[in-house]
Subunit: 408 residues, 2 copies
């Protein structure tokens, strides 16, 4: 694997990790624009804008965009998070340049009023659909509660109200501010020609003007509030707990990832043995969510109303035990092996590698080889995880519960 990097005059960063053995190549445009970069008034604009990029440019309509990807057999998609909008494609090596050129072209969308108005309904349908999923809804609500007025609490989808209130003009303004070349990274992984890649990006994007753009970064301890709501049609309690985490830049992020596996991995974790295996819950998990300058751990449980009290008792018992006694050496070894094999297996294919490559540059402004991450994981000691447990205070969290309507 060979790493290459070039920053164009307008600030657009192009990075590539070349693997001539790979059978495919993947390219991604990583834009530093997510829900946290929005004001509450235009909440949801980043995600809505992601949709709009597929509606085409002055030259291409939506149908032609799709045809252009499809005719290359591209596996392509995009996602928007609290912090990024990412557009990506995996293709056979011979189509990499075509597809990079296409993405670059789409990064200057037409944003037609007509498309904007039609897409508004699609976005509102998506909001309705996700709100119908209690697992999604409770985490979204809990994150909002946890972050209070900090912008990391913004919902990625926005609300029906903010989407209704959004105008095409306001979206164009957001676009100009955030889709600046100096606020983007083009990353490429797998089997491709670096010089042709750079030349392609340079030709397509070299004349986009740089813009002043900045993200306000601040860490946030979390409100640690508790809330509960009834929701019609629910049959189960859906419980989300959020702990303070560490940031994507924090050296403790490797220990944090292991801690979340030890507590709440799908298999073999403390939640698994004490809750899932005992059939007290349908689901119990803990995930580490590192972010730009801040971070959280989110826990999710789904169980019957009857079991909810007992489940929370066991969960708090697990947290207390870890705060008092720390993790065991056996747990550390298991977590390490899990992280290592996941890391190697995910990165084995260019599309998997692409995401780490782009995120490392977005968050750290640096390249990290798989080997560097492997070493960092191997170096974590139980003592570091136990120190982290004390620092984040595992016994203290924000809590949101969605319950079936009380029948009385």
């Amino acid at each position: 694997m060979q790493f290459r990097q070039k920053t164009l005059a307008n600030g657009l960063v192009v990075i590539g990790e070349l693997n001539p053995e790979a059978k495919s190549a993947a390219v991604g445009f990583f834009v530093r624009a997510g829900a946290r970069d929005e004001t509450l008034q235009i909440n949801g604009v980043s995600h809505y804008l992601e949709h709009m990029l597929f509606k085409g440019t002055e030259r291409l309509n939506a149908f032609e965009v799709n045809e252009a990807f499809d005719s290359r057999g591209a596996q392509f998609n995009a996602f928007t998070s609290e912090e990024q909008t990412v557009f990506y494609a995996a293709v056979l090596p011979e189509y990499l340049i075509d597809v990079t050129q296409l993405w670059a072209e789409l990064m200057r969308p037409a944003l037609r009023d007509e498309d904007f108005n039609i897409e508004k309904n699609v976005i509102k349908e998506e909001i309705a659909m996700y709100q119908d999923s209690p697992a999604f809804d409770v985490v979204d609500r809990c994150r909002g509660l946890h972050f209070g007025t900090h912008p990391c609490g913004h919902s990625v989808l926005g609300t029906v109200e903010t989407i209704d209130g959004l105008t095409a003009g306001r979206m164009r303004q957001y676009f100009s501010n955030h889709y600046a070349p100096n606020n983007m990274v083009v990353a490429c992984a797998g089997n491709f020609d670096w010089d042709r890649l750079v030349a392609t990006v340079e030709t397509a994007s070299g004349r986009w003007p740089a813009q002043p753009v900045e993200r306000a970064l601040s860490d946030f301890p979390g409100t640690k509030q508790k809330a509960q709501a009834d929701k019609p049609n629910l049959k189960r309690e859906h419980i989300c707990l959020i702990h303070t985490g560490v940031s994507a830049q924090d050296p403790r992020r490797f220990a944090a990832a292991m801690l979340s596996l030890i507590i709440g991995d799908d298999y073999g974790s403390r939640f698994f043995w004490e809750l899932v295996d005992k059939a007290l819950v349908e689901e119990a998990s803990m995930h580490f969510g590192p972010m730009d300058g801040t971070g959280i751990f989110y826990n999710y449980f789904c169980c019957s109303t009857e079991n909810a009290g007992r489940v929370m008792g066991i969960v708090n018992g697990i947290f207390h035990d870890l705060a008092d006694n720390g993790v065991t050496e056996e747990e550390l070894v298991k977590a390490k092996n899990k992280v290592l094999s996941a890391l190697v297996i995910k990165n084995e294919v260019p599309m998997g590698r692409l995401v780490d490559l782009g995120f490392h540059w977005m968050y750290l402004g640096e390249y990290r080889s798989i080997e560097q991450d492997v070493e960092a994981v191997k170096a974590v000691e139980a003592g570091q995880i136990n120190t982290l447990i004390r620092q984040i205070d595992l016994n203290s969290y924000t809590q949101y519960v969605l319950s079936p309507p009380t029948t009385s």
Copy 2:
């Protein structure tokens, strides 16, 4: 890539595709035991048995099984379908032998009464959870309706009634009949030592006795019936249509896969442009489901009650147009590129390759290289797809609709 194969004296087939460049290896035990191999009385036993294998052996309890995988950082799981139960793991190369040995050991489970009784509730919870998903439920019901008395209509999960009625003794009997070495394939892909793999399987499994076991194969045209049911709490119409397809052994399977992409791929298909892009449905898809000696296409739509009539009109219009005019050359080229890039990208990583490797042997009793499949895809002509459209009769299908309760 090098292919190796060995059949042990008891009929157990071991196959391997070696890729010394890979960073990982994957192993799978493919058992020819699924819902279609069950009688209606014990429907769900294959899936229940899959769960029971994780409960351990005479030597290992469930906790130790999990620890044994976890300590190797194995990404492991299992799934049961209408036709197979597959147990698999992806690991770093140094753990491949350990994990193969572990799976082989688990293929002779203890099937303890106590574990059986506890797991019964887990299975029933899973049935309840899936029945709560209208998209899953409607397809399951429609498949049952389509196949009528043919065993391919059996639900993989079974019903609360069949699971309640199942005894550990009956499961043990099913196990003895179906987990015979001559009814299994051990497949391995990626970076591993073939001789050590064979020696490991031989030592662990070479003395399992062969059993007479046979699957009744018969093609089935489908009942082409129509049914509808109301379901409380639904807000949308969930519609499943099932067409007659072709089998996993049929040379027309490549054309069939392309036809389903042309009609109902997530992006760029006829359903996409005429239904999803027009915001008439939240979801519209068509998938090809090749099976042992038979096959189906299943279509799924989710839309508002208000739109349902119009949606079905458009869907039937698409079917009629294809029956009359066939697919276009442009559609063929796009579908081909989609299938090709999906094929190459999926197979790039050992875990992805494993599934094709195992299924080819299960269905065809032969090895097929990626290149062979690539050639077969490239060779498909529009005329072959159009012939297939006439043969399967696109205008005729089984239909099941789940609707919100009528308010009157």
